[in-house]
């Protein structure tokens, strides 16, 4: 029987971090900092008035958990209204605050879920992300089990989430004790041009005081370990997945990104995809 869980707003103590938000906007220095500082308090007030965070999970079997989290639909409506009123600085700041809150929620929810699962002797093996691992059709099917808990939300046929300030992903579970991060990993996200990608890495490096070279090397090592252990076939250790030159590597990267469970062309990788998505 499917198990469902709802985590309402009071489970998430979200605290806006001005320095983080300004770093993401790259307005932490220069002439525009004063303009954004003027709008910080109004942005916080609007955020408090409109944000309605909620997270829901559905566990269909012992192998997988589907998770959806959102900060609600009202804040992004307010962002659009601000842009219509030509209050671009406040709108832009509120938009970025929404994203920071969403990432904070993701982090807190990961901790909550880990505690809930450990109590049932279950552990997280891997986090599967939209478009990278999960096709739009799979996302829609996964979301179907959550719809009744979040009737205001939806997933379009092209895999777009509504409200936009949301995340939907699948956690692969295991009975073997593991220490795996359940956080959204920017390095494995297909939004290569995301505003926050480099900034989050920079702020992470700043917080953990890791030299840049060391952080990049640790990311590469993690990728190698995942590919060797989970796939079991010889693969290139680094490849630019955005190159589309119809080469064998390029087609392999396309398959890896789309993860079609009905395509058995890639041996052990295809078997793994079929296991995880069907």
């Amino acid at each position: 029987m499917e198990k469902q869980m709802i985590f309402p707003a009071n489970r998430f103590a979200l605290v806006p971090d001005r320095d983080e938000v300004f770093a993401w906007l790259q307005c932490d220095a220069g002439p525009c900092r004063a303009a954004f500082e003027r709008e910080w308090v109004p942005a916080l007030q609007l955020l408090e008035e409109t944000m309605t965070p909620v997270a829901v999970c559905a566990q269909r079997n012992a192998n997988a958990l589907t998770v959806f989290l959102t900060i609600g639909k009202e804040t992004e409506k307010r962002v659009s209204a601000l842009f219509q009123e030509e209050r671009y600085i406040l709108g832009s700041l509120l938009n970025t605050l929404c994203d920071e809150m969403l990432f904070q929620m993701d982090s807190k929810l990961a901790n909550i879920l880990q505690r809930e699962l450990v109590s049932e002797h279950l552990y997280m093996a891997e986090r599967l992300e939209p478009r990278v691992h999960l096709s739009p059709e799979t996302l829609q099917a996964d979301f179907g089990s959550l719809q009744s808990m979040v009737p205001f939300a939806r997933v379009t046929t092209s895999g777009v989430l509504y409200p936009a300030k949301s995340m939907l992903y699948r956690i692969v579970l295991t009975g073997e004790s593991r220490t795996v991060s359940a956080l959204h990993d920017c390095a494995r996200c297909d939004q290569a041009d995301c505003l926050y990608r480099n900034r989050k890495h920079e702020s992470l490096r700043e917080k953990e005081k890791l030299p840049e070279r060391e952080l990049k090397e640790s990311t590469k090592r993690r990728k190698r370990l995942v590919w060797r252990e989970e796939i079991g076939i010889p693969v290139l250790l680094s490849s630019n997945a955005s190159v589309d030159d119809n080469s064998e590597v390029s087609r392999f990267m396309d398959y890896f990104k789309l993860a079609d469970p009905n395509d058995a062309a890639y041996g052990a990788l295809s078997d793994r995809v079929h296991l995880l998505t069907c």
């Binding site: 525009c32 992004e76 962002v79 219509q84 671009y88 938009n95 895999g159």
Partner: protein, 204 residues
């Protein structure tokens, strides 16, 4: 607004005006333009053009463009729209479209916003009814190619495809798809799309 020159330009006035734009000081800009000097739109274009180029080269952040846009919008006049903007059908998102609207307003390009999840016919009705020259479709991912293709095909069926330039902003479609759509411009950055429209429109 009547941009007739009513008094001689004072020394440093351009610098003061551009400084107010860079600080996002809209009240100061509004106070200055009450003097109705003919040069304000040109000074705005000069600064906005320079900052856009620097942003596209990665030299300044988008937040600086945002600050400038808020102040520059004070100069925008109420003219009939020449561009229409909307998120393609199936895409309920607003973020990309918000930034396109912001930049067009800053540049003074009169634009009609159709909102999110816009069927192809709504775009085309705007072209037929209002003489729109630029259709900017905000896309989220390569999966939006289908909706973009539908827009192009319906325009061909209606016989109006040659009446407008089609631009895609927000997602990278393949080059092959871009050619099939006869795209005038395709870029994930709103500033690049805005620059193309501005240069084309202002050189008319």
């Amino acid at each position: 607004m009547n941009w007739m020159r009513t008094e001689m330009e004072r020394p440093g006035q351009r610098e003061q005006f551009q400084d107010a734009l860079l600080r996002g000081d809209r009240p100061a800009v509004e106070e200055m333009i009450r003097q109705e000097l003919a040069d304000y739109p040109y000074w705005r274009d000069e600064l906005l053009g320079e900052l856009t180029e620097q942003y596209l080269e990665g030299a300044v952040p988008f937040s600086q463009l945002t600050v400038l846009a808020e102040a520059a919008a004070a100069l925008a006049e109420h003219l009939p729209p020449v561009a229409v903007c909307g998120s393609l059908e199936g895409n309920p998102g607003d973020t990309g479209r918000n930034f396109i609207q912001m930049l067009f307003r800053a540049w003074g390009v009169p634009t009609l916003d159709l909102g999110a999840d816009v069927p192809a016919d709504h775009f085309l009705d705007a072209v037929s009814g209002q003489g729109i020259r630029f259709v900017i479709a905000a896309a989220f991912s390569a999966d939006d190619a289908g909706a973009a293709m539908l827009l192009h095909q319906k325009a061909m069926e209606r016989g109006i495809r040659d009446q407008f330039d089609l631009l895609i902003c927000g997602a990278k479609l393949t080059e092959e798809t871009g050619k099939k759509l006869q795209l005038a411009c395709m870029d994930h950055r709103a500033a690049a799309v805005a620059r193309w429209v501005v240069q084309t429109w202002k050189n008319r």
